[in-house]
Amino acid sequence: MSSYTNIYAQKIYEILVPLIGDMMTKGTLKSQAAKLGINEESIAPVHLPALAEELRRGLVAFLGSDAAKAVASKIMSIR
């Protein structure tokens, strides 16, 4: 299991990896962070809503809206 020194990135990773796997989680975190103009190690609480929303949209195809929202809520509530 990979780990990030950034606690938010690590917690998002731990939420997503059982669902979409290690490679896809790392790739998704990297690409979504890049969209926000940051890298994974710079994720801060202010970025969580945008990240959660993008990940929610991505997961709808597999989990449906309800379950995708549940995952997004978990990400939003990371402290």
Binding site: L19, I20, V60, L63, A67
Partner: protein, 263 residues
């Protein structure tokens, strides 16, 4: 549990078809009721699958379409069994029948469901993988189509002993199968991008189910046209396994959605 059931039923099915104990009438009964049973199990599983989704969205609609398609398959299998066992009709001579109309109809929602799954995935923003793989799938599909046309479709078209309706139905199945299996294979490839993650299992099992159907249908089209398909042919096992694996895919999907919602 369903996985164990699939394994046990497959072994029993193969063993019985090889032994054919009880004679032709028992064989016919087993051969006609097994697909009814397996398709019914798949229908029940898929019903519970789409009920697990609370909102109407791409994912739910995809699984509803798969459910509708498999339900039509169940109607087809049941009709076939009733005609052959109940009305003692020789279904090798009575082709196409009402059962074939149900089977042919089933392909439409099945294709639509698979296509929606792929389209929903494409919208997700997740990577599609290597374009080279899609090119290989496209090229392979073309080769299969050409081989199918040469060995199956053209001989069927050239056959003067069958009427046009019969020829149409004989040709419909392999073409519809090819059109259905292509998105199934693409979805299988997509699942490989996720490794062994939870999200990949339902689609992977769904793809395997449709590949089983396609293999069985293509073999059936060939054997049926040569008039050498009969009760107890081992290709039936592919249909039975196909139904059960599709049902299993639905249960995995249901389990995934419910486990995420429960967290």
């Amino acid at each position: 549990m369903l996985l164990i059931f699939i394994a046990v039923l497959t072994v029993l099915n193969v063993v019985y078809y090889l032994g054919q104990w009880g004679g032709p009438s028992v064989l016919q009964y087993v051969s006609d009721t097994l697909p009814v049973l397996t398709s019914f199990i798949a229908v029940v599983c898929l019903y519970h699958t789409f009920k697990a989704f609370k909102e109407i969205d791409f994912a739910r609609v995809s699984w509803v379409l798969i459910f509708i398609g498999i339900f039509f398959d169940f109607l087809a299998e049941t009709t076939y069994a009733i005609l052959e066992i109940g009305f003692k009709i020789d279904m090798n001579e009575y082709f196409p029948s009402l059962a074939d109309i149900f089977w042919c109809t089933a392909y439409i929602p099945l294709f639509a469901g698979l296509f929606m799954m792929f389209f929903g995935y494409k919208r997700s923003g997740f990577p599609l993988g290597k374009m080279k793989v899609y090119a290989i799938i496209a090229a392979s599909s073309f080769v299969v189509f050409v081989a199918m046309a040469y060995f199956l479709l053209i001989p069927i078209l050239s056959d003067n002993e069958s009427d046009d309706i019969t020829k149409l139905f004989y040709m419909y199945y392999p073409i519809a199968d090819l059109l259905t299996v292509i998105p199934a294979i693409i979805l299988f490839y997509i699942t490989t991008l996720f490794g062994r993650a939870a999200i990949s299992l339902p689609m992977r099992m769904l793809s395997i189910g449709f590949v089983c159907f396609t293999m069985a249908d293509m073999l059936y089209a060939y054997l049926g046209w040569l008039d050498i398909y009969g009760n107890g042919n081992l290709i039936d096992v592919l249909w039975h396994v196909g139904y059960l694996v599709i049902g299993l895919a639905g249960l995995y999907q249901k389990e995934l959605v419910e486990s995420v919602n429960a967290q």
